[in-house]
Symmetry: C2
Subunit: 208 residues, 2 copies
Amino acid sequence: METTRITPSRLAKRAHYDAETIHSILDEALFCTVSYVADRQPMAIPTAFARKEGQLYIHGSVGSHFIRQIEQGGPVCISVMLCDGLVLAKSAFHHSVNYRSVVIFSEARKVADEAEKMDALALITDHLVPDRWADLRPTTESELRKTTVLAFSLAEASAKVRTGGPNDDPEDASLPTWSGVVPMQTVRLTPIPREGEEDIPLPAYLVQ
Amino acid sequence: METTRITPSRLAKRAHYDAETIHSILDEALFCTVSYVADRQPMAIPTAFARKEGQLYIHGSVGSHFIRQIEQGGPVCISVMLCDGLVLAKSAFHHSVNYRSVVIFSEARKVADEAEKMDALALITDHLVPDRWADLRPTTESELRKTTVLAFSLAEASAKVRTGGPNDDPEDASLPTWSGVVPMQTVRLTPIPREGEEDIPLPAYLVQ
């Protein structure tokens, strides 16, 4: 849904409002930044999350100051950014970044239903490490009680995407400066087992 | 400087206030998220930046809505996060993330001095690609006029750092579940030259 506050004032050609683009960025990113206002002061917290259909879930300790500040509602801005590459132009001015970002305006809904809460925790776990949840002992009632899960609607979300090479001024075209793109990627390295448990086989979902 | 709003309510052992820790995280991270408040609404924008001594610089077009909203001052929260690894425990509850994050509370100072402004642009360029600035044609007066540079003091900044393996409940110790850390890293891949300019040699600072 396009609204005034998610319509960019500049570079509107980079903006996307379709669920497919927004969901694919959210599903690839592992962390989001949750921004909110406390006593007129903006606060920003990076945290793990997961998406299901048109909702984004985060979780935290029931004792977390951050969680307690937003669980009552109030406007929240959630942002996510993936960097795909550094764009090197022939002038500093035209240097840029290939990125995919999402901004969401929403309010927290505290998840009360136990089944939805458990489902959200499974989603958050599997978002970081696919197939991990099914490999774990069941989460206990006590653990569930110590955890708050918050849901945010994606109804007011937008994505921005930049791709491609540098856009230089025509008068710089003949400069002998190297220009192009340095691709960036976030990678998972070889898993390191807990000390003393090197003989426990690596599960298939962690084999790269 | 430690103040009430940068003292965490939980996991205080993960908090750091020394310049060395804070600066090293800022120098490694390529992007920050700038959060501010506009009409009671929290807004968050990911952007490039650079640090010099106790200051952080960002830049943007003079026409940027975001830049215009914060250049007049008003409270800003800047956050940075590096993910070093996913921490897989024997229970979902104790899953965690090894990360290094910084949160800064500050207000924008619009950089008016041309020398400081040019210096900040060089720093931002070289933060993304070390040694790039010296390889570029000089930035023009016109380009400088089209760009706003904002500085933020790091006086009220804090870092949070988690390292190490999972912290499991003693009663889960005997579970045969694989546990440990999946290290994460952001890497630069082979630079892709601009089409038709494959014969321009890759500068030394881009050779990996």
